[in-house]
Amino acid sequence: MVGFVFLFAWPFAASFYWSLCRFDLINPPEFIGLENYRRLASELHSQQGFGLALTNTLYYSVISVSLSVITGVLLATLLSAKVKGQAIYRTLVFLPSVIPIVAASVLWIWLLDPESGMINYLLSWVGIPNQNWLNQSRSAISPAGLTEVSQWIHGGTLNLFGSKDALILMTMWGVGNFVVIYLAALSDIPGQLYEAAEIDGANLIRKFYHVTLPMLSPVIFFNLIMGLIRSVQTFASVYVLSEGTGEPGSSLMLISMQLFLSAFSDFEMGYTSAMAWILFVILLAATTLLFRTSKHWVHYRTSS
């Protein structure tokens, strides 16, 4: 109880009070009402500061979480196939997720080097020209990205991927954590369901769609929530990739980075607390929405 009060309840309440204050850690908090929230609203409107950070975070979270779920389920399905060397493949998929984030980030800086990085080398095999990954602020999934692709198809250059895409790629590398959970859930699906589907004449795809996915849905739901929270909290990799600046062109200025800089570079603890509270509300709303929609797509096994 004491731990709860001092380590959770008090900081929680204090940060709310500070969000209504101007506070720089040194001088006593000065009550300024809703000024910090007004500023956040203004930045949201102008797409500067908090607004830009929220947009960046949204792009990163939506794409990385979606891809993590899709890749995780597909990989787990493949890895559950009883083939020779199954344990080795499983280990290889899980291995990246145990590498410390800082070490992995440094490794990815090398891999994504535009001149000598391995990723560009691999892309060149399929005819994709060198990408500038960590040096550009552009986003692949955007109207500009579509224009680039269409120009490329018509013989132009292709400058598609930017630093957020690089971050997503790096996040995908650590998908092994999710895969382990999916594997456990897959092994729990009763074989009779597949046998029944086979008797009904279902092929592999139909079995996956009508048996595997519904049976995995509670775990997908769990990973979706955890992935969402984790993506919003992503900090260490962004800090290393952008050398603590959120650059290039503010494209790696995710909410976590914006929080860090406004707290420990600009020492605007009140504004930072307000930002953290808005983030909390957004996460709460997103989670509630997911829970509300879950009754339509999450299937729990009942004992009857």
Binding site: I26, G244, S265, D266
Partner: protein
């Protein structure tokens, strides 16, 4: 079996004791001589520079009967947060060395003391007069000295003289000379992949080029941000023209390649013995590179391999009357004296010793050891430092530049970190978007910075800020 377990257990205990003893010896702090008061000094130097810092502290301690300095190396990252927490907790160090533009922010928040609170006014005034303009600007906030600059970082253009001569080119004296060098060594608008560039501007260096083109980012008298002014617009337009000529992506990729060189080698240097030039013919960098060039030349000569000749020149001026000669962006290291420190007097004595206020030869020795730029002409003129300049002639240009009245830091305003970030983001945006309207970008940056500075100022004074 029992005996074996006992033996292994004993061995482990012995090793653990030895490790503990070693650790204990290592952690032993030096004894403070009786009758002296301790001065806690936080700094962020590491590597070979740390030896120089320790040596200054040792020399100061040897010269003293009253104070004893204990240097503590703190990692540079988040030093601000550590200091703020130390001040808030009532146990700050006595003196801190910094190199980020934080003087105004810390001064406004009352984290550090103005010098007039720890030293006689006459001494502070004399010190102000004694220092170079650039050092004084780095130490001042709202016409008060809040810090004491102890080393300057000056930027100039390094060039490969041998390579330029091969192409019948002279070191650049004007922006058009620089463009000519760039175009001669890596023709503009050619699609060919470049292995070497004559020169390419770095979007982070709008600070330097803005001042060279005659701009001022901030007008202290009216307290207005003046980023969207013709000289700064011209500077940014000129920088962005390189991105248009070569392709922003090509330049970004090439620059990234500089960082992939082993040990982040100075990219002006040839990569192997068969080459006589590096990735650039001309590049902007600070005085610390003189050491790299000297080591490279010495290494090649010792092995009997021909080395190219290098030179240094000031940033060239634009071909208009608005430009400033010997101009640039200066930053550097400075001492600050935290509020609530127990021994500010001792800290002040140590800071004076370091900069060579009453003993220029001591500072000359420090600057020669570290390859640092002194903050006063008195130190530069010391025979010991003159010897250093004779041995390192390229360093002389940096000294001349440090004495120029046209070297300016990031404006000393509360919110300087935001100011810096926003300018660099604006320059990046202009550099990387060929359709960008430079005027619009600068206008937007100016408005953002002004709002931020107003907020800092007005809220501090109980006012209201319109978002």
């Amino acid at each position: 079996m029992k005996k074996r377990n006992l033996f292994i257990g004993g061995l482990f205990s012995l090793l653990a004791c030895a490790a503990l003893m070693k650790n204990w010896q290592h952690d032993q702090e030096p004894q403070i001589p009786i009758g002296r008061s301790e001065v806690i000094f936080w700094h962020f130097w590491g590597g070979e520079d740390r030896d120089v810092v320790d040596d200054v502290a040792r020399r100061f301690n040897a010269s003293q009967t009253e104070y004893y300095v204990r240097p503590i190396a703190m990692p540079g990252n988040n030093l601000q947060a550590k200091l703020f927490l130390a001040v808030a907790g009532g146990d700050p160090p006595d003196i801190v060395n910094q190199d980020d533009p934080i003087l105004a922010d810390w001064g406004q928040r009352g984290v550090i003391q103005p010098l007039e609170d720890i030293a006689p006014a006459s001494e502070v005034a004399a010190m102000e007069h004694w220092m170079l303009d650039s050092a004084r600007r780095l130490s001042t906030y709202q016409d008060k000295m809040y810090g004491l600059c102890n080393g300057l970082d000056i930027r100039a253009l390094y060039y490969n003289k041998t390579l330029l001569e091969q192409h019948n080119l002279q070191p650049p004296q004007s922006i058009s000379d620089l463009n000519e060098i760039a175009n001669a060594l890596a023709p503009f608008l050619s699609a060919e992949k470049k292995q070497r560039y004559g020169y390419i501007p770095d979007s982070r260096r709008l600070w330097a080029w803005g001042y060279v083109f005659g701009g001022d980012f901030y007008d202290a008298s009216s307290q207005r941000v003046v980023v969207d002014s013709p000289p700064i617009r011209d500077a940014l337009q000129w920088m962005a023209s390189y991105a248009q000529n070569y392709g922003a992506d090509n330049l970004a990729a090439f620059r990234k390649g500089d960082q992939s060189l082993p040990g982040k080698t100075f990219p002006l240097l040839p990569r192997n013995d068969q080459e006589m030039s590096g990735r650039y013919a001309v590049i902007m960098d600070g005085q610390w590179r003189v050491r790299n060039l000297a080591a490279f030349t010495h290494n090649r000569q010792a092995r009997g391999v021909a080395a190219p000749e290098f030179g240094v020149c000031p940033l060239p001026v634009p071909n208009t009357s608005a430009g400033r000669t010997n101009a640039g962006w200066v930053n550097g290291n400075f001492f600050v004296f935290p509020q609530g420190a127990k021994n500010s007097q001792g800290a002040w004595e140590f800071a004076k010793f370091w900069v060579g206020y009453s003993n220029p030869s001591q500072a000359a020795q420090t600057c020669s050891q570290g390859g640092w730029i002194p903050v006063s002409k008195t130190v530069t003129q010391d025979p010991q430092f003159q010897n250093y300049l004779d041995e390192n002639p390229l360093f002389r240009t940096f000294i001349e530049l440090s004495e120029s009245p046209n070297q300016f830091p990031i404006p000393s305003v509360a919110g300087a970190a935001f100011f810096r970030r926003t300018i660099e983001q604006a320059a990046f945006q202009a550099f990387n978007n060929s359709n960008a309207d430079v005027d619009e970008i600068l206008q937007e940056a100016e408005q953002q910075i002004q709002t931020h500075l107003n907020r800092n100022h007005n809220l501090r004074h109980g006012g209201h800020v319109d978002p």
